[in-house]
Symmetry: D3
Subunit: 135 residues, 6 copies
């Protein structure tokens, strides 16, 4: 149903630029499973490389935000952008990173609340308070 071919492992093996990225995905995640997102991007090797390199740097390398927080932020954006694929894959990722049912319930309450107040603020075209401006 995709607009592009999803590469099988056999096809990946045949193209070194793609194989290198897939090998790194597997090594980094310590798992053999490579999800469809990367199998679709395999059609565009330079986009595949750049995207994986960014995802690895942003989502996987340690920083000051913990991994679960980053996943929740990711799901929030994906929900607002109606990306069904991304919501599914990152909700699954969040669960493997320890998301509890209680946290998920609170997360849903927050994104619902945010969407509601976004709509109210946008519809009433409320001007930003001076107090919120920088400098």
């Amino acid at each position: 149903m995709a607009t592009v071919k999803l590469w099988t492992d056999v096809e990946v093996e045949a193209v070194p630029a793609v194989k290198t990225v897939f090998d790194d995905i597997r090594a980094t995640r310590k798992s053999d499973f490579v999800n469809n997102f990367w199998r679709a991007l395999a059609n565009q090797p330079s986009l595949l490389e750049r995207t994986w390199s960014s995802v690895k740097q942003v989502m996987i390398e340690p920083g000051t935000l913990d991994p679960l927080t980053k996943e929740l932020v990711y799901i929030a954006v994906s929900t607002a952008n109606s990306c069904s694929y991304c919501v599914h894959s990152h909700t699954a990722a969040a669960r493997t990173k320890g998301l509890s049912d209680e946290q998920y319930a609170e997360f849903l309450a927050v994104i619902g609340m945010a969407a509601e107040t976004n709509t109210l603020a946008n519809s009433m075209q409320i001007p930003v308070d001076q107090e919120f401006l920088i400098g």
Copy 2:
């Protein structure tokens, strides 16, 4: 520039249903400052009450997600929904809740990354992997 009047404190004092909510906002936040969002909602007392009651329950009452995480999720949604008011007010709120420059930089990287991969997944109409489905 709003589509509704922004209520002054004098106007708020004159309407008990509105005054009660404003008093609770001030008491709950331990601050005299009430931002324009609530001054706009004052035109719709029942919506004002229900919205404040929900925001208080979702964003302020303690739960299993820490307050800063909730603010980041809120900003993520507000950004994706292009709500300028909400981005300003909740970025300011996040800073008062301890958001560091480094965390903000990482947050921006995550929402940018999410928007990019949302777009790629939506444009290639990638089917959800069986592995991500529940049950």
Copy 3:
């Protein structure tokens, strides 16, 4: 601040294809005021003509939905699309078509509610019930 020139009445007078549309806008609305949307579209005469012809047919010619309902639906879409210009112009239009403060308060409650439940349904990726499907 626009990306195009906003045409003055003097400029409009000089271009027959544009003048014809502006004359019809004024005659149809029984008002001399022509808002910036049309002054921006004047740069693209064929788009101006086609857009005005559609707006006139859809929003002004009588049908089975009353004019105020159509304005509310228009504002709802414009809010969700974060079109500041459209929210302002159509909220003003709704008021001239009789929108009361009480109706506006209820309208805001509905669009806020819709945005919240949209987000919840999209985030939990709830499957459509068989009962809702046609045929």
Copy 4:
């Protein structure tokens, strides 16, 4: 295909906080059918309660906007937010509230028109006319 379990009636019976809401949904709507949205929210009892209480107040209790107008506004927002579930469920609801084929055709024309002009106004970044501003 959801990211959460959809509760069966047997599961609902076992949790009083959930059962109370489901009973009220059935009593309020005078129908035994409870759609998947609520079966998904059952995983988050406090969100379920708050959401149902708001939906009931906003969409069902009588006010100054008629029920069909509220449904049309709801579908308009849901369409703009690409919520497939919400479009399906509220289009079905609108039909039970009397939406005729002719009204639906006009509604589609309005939301299409709105989306088109939203895009034109946003792309040309048209400034809001002074005439549309409050106060």
Copy 5:
């Protein structure tokens, strides 16, 4: 799964206003295949006519933008609006108009990049440079 009936050729034959448009679609595209979008719009003859007339004028009549560029712009908008149907139909159309795999890969990189920088600019609420303003 649609909210409306998709008209079969037999049903189309029976309604002259619909048949005329379908005949013109087939003649203009030099193909017997009429996709579901038009079969859904057949329920609303005046919307069908107006939409086909606009699509024909905008997308098919020769102008200063080449047909492939117009399709890419169309897919870009459809992706950002999460319209699965439109992404599929216009990606297919772009391929028949000569879209190569290499161009598609570059296109995906551009829309991903745009979505990422949109998010960054919206989240930091960056003010527009004077240099970009007209006049």
Copy 6:
């Protein structure tokens, strides 16, 4: 009005990681003008570097899509995402790359048309034709 400081040239000079990127922006574009987007990103040096590196690769390095087409696609996405900053900056960029008034008029017609049909397809939940599916 931004949520972050916009770096002046003096501030840029003081931070080598930022100065290196700014120097490359100026050299690549053969212009001294550096727009606010980069002055905002300067607060996040690693995000600045990664973003510039991607923008340079995607938008500036020669490929199979011509530079003007890429700008039009960029504006299309930015409009749909309601990014005022991005619409302004890339419309200006498109003009420097040769966008004529006639092309801009056609471009606006296409994105308006796309938004309208996106909305119609999403609201009627039209199923994708088998003919559009790959494989």
